[in-house]
């Protein structure tokens, strides 16, 4: 059970590496922004699995904060992409 959870944790971290591949290699700018968005969601899963495996409960708080910051960052990037000012 514990070994299996560790395998799942390393798989999830490897998927974050896949997103880094798309960030480096992406042909256009929106490809990189999509990969940053997906990376921010995947990190929440990594935080939850680490919190289960090590028993440290405060790591879930880091996940919640990461959700909100990733949401604000992605909205700012989308606003920048569509070419408008931030108060429109």
């Amino acid at each position: 059970m514990n070994i299996w959870l560790e395998i799942l944790l390393y798989t999830q971290i490897a998927l974050s590496g896949v997103c880094l591949y798309r960030i480096i290699r992406g042909p256009t700018i929106p490809d990189r922004m999509v990969a940053v968005d997906i990376f921010g969601i995947l990190v929440v899963g990594v935080c939850a699995i680490i919190a289960i495996q090590t028993g440290k409960k405060y790591i879930i708080d880091i996940g919640i904060a990461w959700v909100i910051l990733s949401f604000i960052g992605t909205l700012t990037l989308a606003k920048y992409l569509s070419g408008k000012k931030l108060n429109e």
Binding site: W4, T11, R22, D37, I38, I60, S70, T74
Partner: protein
């Protein structure tokens, strides 16, 4: 044991989403494949964390992270694809329909 099964299902969905992020030909296809699968997978992982911790403080925090993640990820993806369309990224040449073009003008 149920927590382990839920986390396994979530990681499996994440794998499918990341395969879509790598393999699909277009930024719109990549976004619609990756966002849905990864959002559902991470919601499943957080539900597994809730079942593992029970009704303690960490379990309740995991439970309230699920609707937060669900709504924020979908709204962010919608805003991102709208910005991408206005930025002027072309669709792939195998796509057959573009309904949003008549709405923009």
């Amino acid at each position: 044991m149920a927590a382990i099964i839920l986390i396994t299902i979530g990681v499996l969905f994440n794998i499918f989403g990341c395969i879509g992020l790598i393999r699909l030909p277009d930024v719109y296809n990549r976004l619609q494949a990756a966002t849905k699968c990864v959002t559902l997978g991470c919601c499943s992982i957080l539900l597994g964390a809730f079942i593992h911790f029970g009704f303690t403080d960490a379990g309740i925090k995991g439970l309230i992270a699920i609707p937060l993640l669900f709504f924020s990820a979908t709204v962010a993806a919608h805003a991102l694809v709208r910005g991408t369309y206005h930025f002027g990224v072309k669709m792939t040449d195998r796509s057959v329909k573009d309904d949003y073009k008549s709405d923009v003008k």
